[in-house]
Symmetry: C2
Subunit: 192 residues, 2 copies
DNA sequence: GTGCTACTGAAACGACTGTTTCAGTAGGAT
DNA sequence: ATCCTACTGAAACAGTCGTTTCAGTAGCAC
């Protein structure tokens, strides 16, 4: 009944997961398959299945690994100064070159979870919206946090960040997208 | 050398394309395969291959079909009043329930083209950014259209629309997302 | 009738998928 | 030496994939 749960901790598992994660950042998650992946990380399909239980288990572990990197940012003290100020800080993180692969993976998983609501992606899109809205909420003064205006402000800040990120991923134009984000968020910052 | 180009026009082809398009709006483009698709549209893999040349050809035709529906909106007179005003009009189109499937398909294709720069998706992401920026540019007064501020305004409007759309697709919360879009674009409207 | 074009069905091809079966090997504990 | 756990290699399984091969059928032109 336990359906072949994989050993959740193991040095070898961690090592292969890390290498698989790098592979996935470069090649995406959609078209992945065990044999090429195993060859790239210096292992075999047999071992990956042994360590992760199934392909789904591997994908789940990879998504968790990606989320851990995202949480790096989320866990940092969100700071104060309102959602707009927090949004500006988040943007410098999003626009950094070294996060490009992670963000591509993020978009891919988001899209996938919109279409295929079953499988390892599950509620990825909805969860991640909630994660980020919560981060922005934490930056708002507690006294107004539950007002409709505050909710709308968070939603707006998140939308601008996500939309600019999509643009940046497609065009690579950091200057133009950064200017747009600043034009929106800097004036907004005064009010909180 | 002609690599089996498919007959580009044919009544039967149009009919099957239309039905395949409906199937794709419901099931997504990523995990598509000929046999289930053929069964769903009342045909066979053999016929789809005959009419579209290859699976890639079919996908390309489906993307073109989707783009045609999008162009419906793009072709309408963009109107004046600046990019923000145009953005507000576009949002009512984006937020309409009957476009949900198309937008999911859009996100999926966008994500795919970021990762897999070869194949039918090709430059989909970049092209679509340019399409929409051009639409918004057309709504700006010609006199300021080429200024940096105008470029930034277009970029911002597009980012808000895209980001809010992502939120809407994941949460279905039209009220909250619409409020965010309005909060951003209505004040912006005065200035042009 | 013959010929031509458009379309279709059935079956097979080779390549690839996730997964399983069986048979190990290396290392440490007892 | 024995046992146990952790890991691994090779091969096969059943299934799906896009595509091809071969053999048609229906309709219209002449």
């Amino acid at each position: 009944m336990m359906s072949a749960a994989s050993p959740p901790e193991s040095a070898r598992r961690d090592e292969l997961l890390e290498r698989a994660y790098e592979y996935v950042l470069a090649h995406g998650l959609a078209g992945i398959s065990l044999r090429p992946l195993a060859a790239a990380v210096g292992s075999s399909p047999r071992v990956l299945l042994f360590l992760f239980g199934s392909k789904d288990g591997l994908v789940r572990a990879l998504l968790a690994r990606a989320r851990a990197q995202e949480t790096e940012l989320l866990a940092r003290p969100p700071g104060e100064g309102g959602a707009a100020a927090a949004g500006l800080r988040v943007w410098t993180w999003l626009a950094a070159d070294e996060h490009r692969g992670l963000l591509r993976l993020w978009v891919e998983s988001y899209a996938r979870s919109l279409i295929d609501p079953v499988g390892p992606w599950d509620e990825f899109a909805r969860e991640t919206v909630d994660d980020w809205l919560a981060l922005l909420a934490a930056a708002q003064p507690a006294s107004i946090r539950e007002t409709e205006a505050a909710v709308a402000e968070r939603t707006l800040v998140l939308a601008v960040l996500r939309g600019a990120m999509l643009d940046l991923l497609a065009t690579g134009d950091r200057e133009r997208t950064t200017r747009a984000v600043r034009d929106c968020l800097v004036p907004l910052r005064r009010r909180s």
